[in-house]
Symmetry: C2
Subunit: 296 residues, 2 copies
DNA sequence: GGAACACATGGAACTTCGCCATTTTATCTA
DNA sequence: TAGATAAAATGGCGAAGTTCCATGTGTTCC
């Protein structure tokens, strides 16, 4: 019993004429007759009443016809489902992200992706960059939104946001009066940073600013997230270093200032395993790239 | 693309091992590998990720698996439906019947048939015997419940009720006092009969009773149904001739008597076209025969 | 009653499916 | 590091099944 038999049966049932049915099936009449006979024998049911001149369905054939059509429809649906999944229209996507990504880029990407691929289920996990790298290598997430570098040749990364970091100061801080802060102004200033785990690139870049001056910054406090940095700043503990997108965490007690001539690059990257074959991943990556290039 | 491919895919997906899957399919591994490859090529979707040592489903394969199982299930359901219809468990049955059959045998047969074959839809038409014969020959009904003879070699008949007819008299009629009526008592009695169309056999048999006596019965009225005969009798118009089962049409004004030594046979038969292949018909006929033999 | 139509039958050719033997590659172990 | 083992892929061959062509047979229509 093969699919062929069902298709042959349906065609003959529609034409009630072996010759015409054979033409529609692009074959000749004798093999069609034989296949139908074999099929009837195999299932033990006469599907047609034939009297050398006229063909008609038996009662069993009439009941079989809609079921046979259902078989063919189900076959098409199955193949279609596989092809859609292959194109990434069905699937699952597990996304890791650093907390700072939620301030800006992540929600708009997710929103757009959901609109275009409504049948892909998305699972989000807030993870630090090193945890994301481990999760990627352990196949627990498909995509990471993290701060480079990741330090693994198995992982592909593309920058999606080339933003900058800024200093956040209590609004009554003396330096807050200046439009641009000079690096010399930062001598003896107490700093509050997110811990190096959160964003090693930014942490290291901040420290490297001071290679060309004769002092090192005084880090008085490390926080586990940027929201906490801003909180400590507004409490007057010190001056914070946060990505510029954190300005969206409105806090009236805090102002943001750049350091003159010393931009702090704050790159957010998309990261995924090179060997990951999840079709939904490709779409997510290309969609993200498109959105980011549109914004420029 | 054939059913085989779906079954092969499901088995490999369940085993995730071409060798074991091949064993389960009672074949060797190489042709199985080849068939899966061809199938993947045909639908344009990689269903398995294989790396010479391990096999696993791709995302598309995971989405395809339940759909493929659905295909196989639908195939089985389709074949099962055809086989059930072939056995007469699904179907339609159009039944013609004479009015007198409703008094006794028909309801119990229908009730029992419905219980055993709940998925056969039954359509009932009250028709006279000649109309039933025409309807049978014109393929408008599958079965007739009628009074023989039918007079067509295309039609098969089997008696299902060998009942008797009786005389019905107004309860104050002189003859009503007698337990058994002698045929001589019927001289000059006005008779009421159902018209010959209704039951030619009974009509003719009644007339033939009088071949051996020197008078013919006086038929004063013909009615179009037995209920009407009984009604006319109770109105005192005359003496009726009705099937014994008509006694169930309770009427306190009427009594029933037999004619001594002259039983009036009242045969009800099942009739159907010999060439009718409706499987539900066979079951109906054999069930009816069983019920009738049980009752004896 | 003959012609035309339509399904069935029989035999030949081609396709393809499955088996066997072998190769390739990945993993495990010494 | 290298050999052993396991598992999928590859290639050639035989057999089975499918298709085509030619023909047979029973119906229907003129």
């Amino acid at each position: 019993m093969e699919l062929r038999h069902f298709i042959y049966f349906i065609t003959v049932a529609e034409e009630l004429h072996f010759g015409r049915a054979a033409t529609r099936l692009q074959m000749t009449q004798p093999p069609l007759s034989k296949q139908i006979q074999q099929f009837e024998e195999e299932i033990g049911v006469a599907l047609f009443k034939r009297n050398k001149r006229h063909v008609e369905l038996t009662t069993a054939g009439e009941f079989f016809l809609p079921e046979a059509r259902e078989v063919v429809a189900q076959v098409h649906q199955a193949v279609d489902t596989a092809q859609r999944a292959h194109r990434g229209e069905f699937g699952r996507l597990v996304i890791g992200f650093v907390g700072s990504a939620t301030y800006d880029i992540l929600p708009s990407i997710i929103r757009e992706y959901r609109r275009i691929f409504p049948h892909v289920s998305i699972k989000l996990h807030e993870l630090s960059t090193p945890d994301q790298v481990a999760a990627l290598l352990g196949d627990r997430i498909d995509i990471g939104l993290l701060h480079p570098p990741v330090g693994s040749s198995l992982i592909e990364t593309t920058p999606i946001e080339r933003g900058y970091a800024a200093l956040s100061l209590p609004k009554n801080h003396p330096l807050a009066k200046k439009e641009k802060i000079q690096i010399e102004d930062l001598r003896d200033v107490p700093f509050i940073l997110a811990s190096r785990d959160i964003w090693p690139g930014l942490y290291d870049e901040f420290l490297s600013l001071f290679k060309n001056v004769d002092f090192t910054p005084k880090i008085v406090q490390e926080a586990t997230e940027y929201q906490m940095v801003v909180g400590l700043v507004s409490a007057g503990i010190g001056v914070g270093v946060v990505p510029a997108t954190a300005e969206k965490l409105f806090n009236l007690e805090v102002v943001y200032r750049d350091i003159d001539h010393y931009p702090l690059k704050a790159v957010l990257s998309l990261a995924y395993l090179k060997r990951n074959t999840n079709p939904a991943l490709k779409n997510f990556v290309s969609l993200t790239k498109r959105i980011c290039s549109d914004e420029r």
